[in-house]
Symmetry: C2
Subunit: 152 residues, 2 copies
C-alpha cells in the first residue's frame, strides 16, 4: 500500500481549490477537534459547551447568561439548558445580577472548580494531540491569529 506514517494522510481531495478556503479549514479542524474534546470531557460528564460555560463561571468574571450567549455564539435558550444542567449537578449556581436584577450571574461552586481543573488538564492533552503537527511556536501563532481575526 505504499509508505504509511502514523500521521493522518493527506486526502486526495485536499488538492482542490477548496483546500484553501478558510471556511472549510475551520469547519474541518473544528469538527475533528470537537470529536476529540468531547471524548476527553466525557470522563467528567462534560461536553465542549458545558465546559466553556463552566470555565467562564470559574473565571471570576461573573458573566451573565446573556454574555455567555453572545460570547459562545449560542441562543439564550441554549444557555439556559447548559446552566440548568451544570446547576443540577452542583457545579455552578445562579446569582442575582448586581446592577441589573433581570440578569443572572453564573458563578462556580467549589465542586465546579474541582471538576474544571481536572477537565482542563485532560483537554490540554487533547489539544496538544490535535495540533501535534505544529511546533510550539506555530501553536502560539495559530492562537494569536485566531484571536486577532476575531477581535482585531
Amino acid at each position: 500500500m505504499g509508505p504509511q506514517s502514523t500521521e493522518v494522510e493527506i486526502p486526495r481531495l485536499a488538492a482542490a481549490k477548496i483546500g484553501n478556503d478558510v471556511g472549510l479549514l475551520l469547519a474541518k479542524l473544528h469538527a475533528t477537534g470537537s470529536l476529540l474534546n468531547n471524548k476527553a470531557l466525557a470522563d467528567y460528564g462534560l461536553r465542549e459547551r458545558s465546559f466553556s460555560v463552566l470555565t467562564l463561571a470559574c473565571s471570576g468574571l461573573e458573566p451573565t447568561q446573556r454574555e455567555l450567549a453572545d460570547f459562545l455564539s449560542l441562543d439564550p435558550s441554549q444557555v439556559v439548558s447548559l446552566v440548568d444542567d451544570l446547576e443540577h449537578r452542583g457545579l455552578v449556581k445562579r446569582a442575582q445580577g448586581k446592577q441589573d436584577r433581570r440578569a443572572k450571574i453564573i458563578v462556580s461552586t467549589a465542586e465546579g472548580r474541582r471538576i474544571h481543573t481536572k477537565a482542563r488538564a485532560g483537554l490540554e492533552v487533547c489539544e496538544q494531540t490535535q495540533l501535534a503537527a505544529l511546533s510550539e511556536d506555530e501553536n502560539l501563532q495559530l492562537r494569536a491569529l485566531l484571536k486577532k481575526a476575531l477581535w482585531g
Copy 2:
C-alpha cells in the same frame, strides 16, 4: 458609551483563560464565518456545504460520495441529500465509478461551473471581510497553519 470603532469590540469575557482555547476560538470563528458565508451564498441558492460539494465537483478530481463524506466530515447520508439537491437543480450529476461500480462520481455540469464561478467570487469578498483584521501575510499564515494542523 465611550469610544466605539467600526470593528467588533473585544468582549469582556475574552479575558478568561478560555479565550486561549483553540477549540473555542475555532468554534467562534467558524460560527461567525458560516453566518457570513451562508448569507453571501444565499444569492446563488447555495449554503456552505452545498458550495463545498459543488467546488469539489468542479475540481476535476472526480470525487466519490464516500470521499466527499470523509473530506467534509459528513455522514454519507448527508452527502446524499446535498448531491440530490444539486443534481435536481442541474448543477452536478452522478456518474458511475470507473473501477468500482458501487461508487458514484460527482461531476459538475456547465451550469454548475457557471454558478460556482460566480459564487466563489462572492465568497472571496466575504472571506476578506471576515479576516479584515489580518494583514495579507497573516491571512496566508493562518491558512498554512490550519492546513498543517489538519494534514501535517
